[in-house]
């Protein structure tokens, strides 16, 4: 009987410690996810604004940063959802590579149009199962005031982007609905064939693209 209060006290202390631990882990999680976005956008903007750096070199450097900050493995699983399991390990491996190239081409294509804007971080939110969403807005330029949310997931001791949400439209959601359609119609082979074709065409589009407008 005498031991019970002490047990209770110990238990409640333990609970408190756990709670405090998880709270502080959440706080620092949000902070470092935010740091990731802040540092990445600063590095990218610095490259974009470097005068007399060839576009091709800018693209190469930014791609390198993207490879470090995006978790393409997780993103591949998310965009294929349940379809991921229908791919053989070889197909999965190829898909991750092709999908990464596809994203790099999409974002790299217009690199010379960006650079006049800032990214202002407006808030962050810890999601129910530990992901962190960093909210931001574009300041200035053509896309002034556009809301961009980055969803990050912890991978080892670093935070990696797993989704980009522009004005409520999710990159992962967008690709998922397209891949769903393609998987239903032609299976994994069709998906991979189309990605290969797109990526091959995308690589040559760059050369044929008209020069940027000057006004």
């Amino acid at each position: 009987m005498r031991r019970r209060p002490r047990l209770l006290r110990a238990l409640s202390a333990l609970l408190l410690a756990l709670l405090a631990g998880s709270l502080s882990r959440q706080a620092s999680a949000a902070a470092s996810a935010r740091d990731t976005i802040e540092q990445t956008s600063a590095r990218v903007l610095e490259i974009l604004r470097t005068a007399n750096l060839p576009v091709e070199e800018k693209r190469r450097r930014i791609e390198q940063i993207a490879y470090d900050t995006f978790d393409f493995d997780t993103m591949s699983k998310l965009v294929l959802a349940r379809g991921w399991r229908d791919l053989s390990p070889d197909q999965q491996h190829e898909f991750v590579g092709q999908f990464r190239t596809q994203l790099a081409l999409t974002y790299g294509r217009r690199i010379d149009h960006y650079g006049h804007e800032e990214l202002k971080i407006t808030g962050e939110r810890t999601e129910p199962r530990g992901d962190v969403t960093v909210q931001s807005r574009v300041m200035g330029g053509q896309y002034d005031n556009t809301a961009i949310d980055y969803r990050l997931r912890q991978a080892g001791d670093s935070w990696k982007i797993i989704d980009v949400i522009v004005e409520g439209v999710s990159l992962v959601g967008s690709y998922r609905s397209q891949f769903q359609e393609l998987l239903d119609r032609g299976g994994p082979q069709k998906v991979l064939a189309l990605l290969r074709e797109k990526n091959a065409a995308g690589a040559s589009v760059d050369v044929a693209e008209p020069p940027p407008k000057t006004n």
Partner: protein, 259 residues
């Protein structure tokens, strides 16, 4: 004046009923889950795809070439000014729908923006309300009003000429059109060409966005459908994310879904 307002009330009641009925009507066809987890159907997908194709041809051979010419003639700042001018004219729509949604602060903001931008902003071509006073533009329409009051979207539709929609937004377009005061001031031979200029100018501001979206999309139809659904949901919530949204989490943990 009294007759006008009672007609508007009747129209509101009727359109709410219609949107409700259409919203429940259809639950067949391919399922699309929005980012917030709402289930939307596309029962008319084969027809929708044909209309989508038609609109795309129209864009490719008429609107895009004209807009490209427009873009070649007019510098971007002028295009953005024209865009602001047309947005400023939508003030009655913003105000009405702010009031319909009991957003009193939004109604005040919309009024303030209109007053400042119509005067100091030279007929709305400039946006001093945003630049000097930080009164940010916000977009309200009757489709959003219906959504805000809880009306479902209904099945996905593609309209000829107008593009992606749903029954809720069709009703919204109708109500916004009927409640616009612009026809009181300007005859059709002014408003129709102005609508054309608006369309061409808007298109010319997005030449590269559309080109890039088409180049990167694997299935442009699903790409636009998904973007439309998510974007409208986001507009209805004014960009605010619901805090507890377990349905939203499904997108990020596909393995934990029940098969």
């Amino acid at each position: 004046m009294r007759r006008g307002s009672s007609r508007l009330v009747l129209l509101l009641a009727g359109s709410l009923a219609l949107a409700g009925a259409l919203g429940c009507a259809s639950s067949s066809g391919p399922e699309i889950r929005t980012r917030q987890g709402t289930l939307v159907h596309d029962p008319l997908e084969p027809v929708n795809r044909k209309i989508f194709w038609f609109n795309d041809q129209l864009d490719r051979f008429v609107l895009e070439p004209v807009a490209t010419g427009w873009d070649w003639v007019l510098p971007d700042p002028a295009q953005r000014g024209i865009n602001r001018f047309f947005t400023n004219l939508l003030f009655p729509q913003f105000l009405l729908n702010d009031l319909f949604q009991a957003k009193w602060e939004g109604a005040g903001l919309a009024t303030g923006r209109f007053l400042v931008n119509s005067t100091a902003g030279i007929l709305g071509f400039m946006d001093p309300a945003k630049d000097w006073l930080d009164w940010k533009p916000q977009d309200e329409d009757f489709g959003q009003t219906l959504g805000w009051w809880g009306s479902g979207a209904g099945p996905y539709l593609v309209l000829p000429f107008l593009g992606p929609s749903n029954p809720r937004d069709v009703v919204g377009l109708g109500v916004d059109g009927v409640s616009s005061p612009i026809p009181w001031f300007a005859p059709w031979y002014v408003t129709v060409p102005m609508g054309g200029v608006h369309a061409i100018n808007t298109r010319s501001l997005h030449l590269e966005d559309v080109r890039e979206a088409k180049a990167s999309a694997l299935d442009f139809y699903s790409f636009v459908r998904n973007a439309y659904l998510d974007y409208r949901e986001n507009q209805i919530r004014d960009g605010q994310e619901p805090e507890a949204a377990p349905a939203r989490e499904d997108l990020y943990y596909p393995d934990s879904d029940a098969p």
